[in-house]
Symmetry: C2
Subunit: 225 residues, 2 copies
C-alpha cells in the first residue's frame, strides 16, 4: 500500500496566518508533480469564502485549487483529482456532508489504490481521515449516519491536543480524561493526541511526526473494562 497522507493538527497556529506553520511541509508533500488540489470545504458553513481562503493560500505555494462544492458531480471530482485537501471546521458537519455527497468510499479508494493520490487533512479533515470521529473535540451540531470515517489509518487522532493544565479551575473533563472514557468502551483504537503545531506524515506503512510540539499516544489497556 502506497498511501501518502499529511495529517495536520490545526490550520492556524497562534500568531500566524492560515496554514503558515506547515507550508513548507505542504510543498514537500505535494511536490512538483501535483498541479491542482481538490479542496473539500464541507466543515464550514460558508463554502465559497472558505474555498477563497484555501485557494489564495495554495496559490502562493504554486498549486491551483478546485473545490468539490463547485463540481456538478462530487464523486466524479474525487475520481479525477490529482490530490485532495480536506479543511478543518466542524467534524460532524464535515462527515455528514461526506456521506450526503457519497464520497467517503471514493476518497478511500483513490487514496488507497495503487498509485493513489496524496491526501492532506487539517483538524476536522484529519479526524475524518482516521478510523472514526469518536475522538473529535467538536460539538455534535448535526447527526451523521455513522461515526465511522474514511479510515485511511487504523487508529484515531485527537487534533488540537491539549495537555492537562494543573492550574485550571474549570471542572469539565480534560482531554486526557475524555480519551480515557473513550478507551473504557469496547473495541476502541489507539489515539494519537496531536498537539497544535504537529502533523503526521504517513507514507505506506511508515508514519513520521513532523513539527515542533510532538504528540502523545494513548493506547487502550487490554485489561481495562
Amino acid at each position: 500500500m502506497k498511501r501518502r497522507l499529511l495529517l495536520v493538527s490545526n490550520s492556524t497556529l497562534h500568531g500566524g496566518g492560515y496554514l503558515d506553520h506547515c507550508q513548507q511541509h505542504i510543498c514537500d508533500f505535494f511536490g512538483k508533480d501535483v498541479k491542482r488540489v481538490l479542496f473539500v470545504p464541507y466543515a464550514l458553513h460558508d463554502r465559497d469564502a472558505y474555498t477563497k481562503t484555501a485557494r489564495n493560500k495554495f496559490k502562493t505555494l504554486g498549486y491551483e485549487v478546485d473545490s468539490i462544492h463547485e463540481a456538478a458531480d462530487p464523486v466524479a471530482a474525487v475520481g479525477g483529482a490529482e490530490a485532495i485537501f480536506i479543511g478543518g471546521g466542524n467534524t460532524f458537519r464535515l462527515l455528514k456532508s461526506l456521506y450526503d455527497n457519497k464520497v467517503v468510499t471514493e476518497i478511500r479508494r483513490r487514496v488507497m489504490e495503487q498509485d493513489g493520490i496524496p491526501y492532506m487533512g487539517s483538524s476536522a479533515g484529519t479526524n475524518v481521515a482516521t478510523i472514526s470521529i469518536n475522538t473529535t473535540n467538536d460539538m455534535p451540531i448535526v447527526y451523521p449516519p455513522s461515526f465511522s470515517a474514511i479510515g485511511l489509518v487504523p487508529f484515531n487522532i485527537n487534533p488540537h491536543y491539549l495537555d492537562p493544565d494543573p492550574h485550571s479551575r474549570h471542572m469539565g473533563e480534560t482531554r486526557e480524561q475524555r480519551i480515557t472514557q473513550y478507551h473504557e468502551e469496547p473495541d476502541t483504537q489507539s489515539v494519537l493526541g496531536l498537539r497544535e503545531g504537529s502533523m503526521l506524515l504517513v507514507e505506506g506503512n511508515k508514519a513520521t511526526l513532523l513539527g515542533s510540539t510532538k504528540a502523545r499516544l494513548f493506547s487502550r489497556c487490554p485489561t481495562l473494562v
Copy 2:
C-alpha cells in the same frame, strides 16, 4: 404543565466536594415529601462506584438513593420513582444507555404528567433533559441512535459554559464559536450557556437562574443562513 426540574451545570465546583455547591438548592428542590431518589449512573463507566458516591452524598441531605442499574426492570423503576437524578459524565454514553434501556419516553412521561416527579440533572444529566444533545462538550465516544434527548424543556443547554479567553494561545474553537456553528444549521434552538456554579430551576413554565455565576443565552438570528 407542572414540571419541576433542577438543571445543574456541573457536579463539582473547584475547591468543593461532589454537589457541595448546590446542596441547599437540592434540599429546597426535593423538599420533605421526597424520601427516595432514583439515580441514573449511565454516564460513567463504573456504575457501582458512581452510585456509591451519589448515595453517600444524598444520605447526608436526608434522601435514600436507588440506582436504576440495580433494578431488574429499568422502565418499571422509572414508573415507580418518587424523584429522579441523572448524574454527569459522558453525554453520548448516557443518551445511548437511556435509549438502550428504553427509558427516554418513560422519564419524559413521569416528569411531564399531571403531578409529575421532580427531575434533577447535572452536566450530562442536564444535557439529556433538553431538546437534544447537540450542544454537549463531550467526546462522541459511542454512537447513540439519535441526538434527540428527553425534551423536558424546548431549548438546549451548554453546561460548563466557558467565556472566551482573550489571552488563550490555543486555536481550537471557543465555546461561543461552537454554539455559533450550531446556529448556522437549520431548525436549531436557543442555547443557554450555563456557567459552572449556575443552575436552572424550572417550575411549570417559569425558569429561574440560581447560583452565583449567571448564564449566557444564545438565540439563533432569524436572518442567519
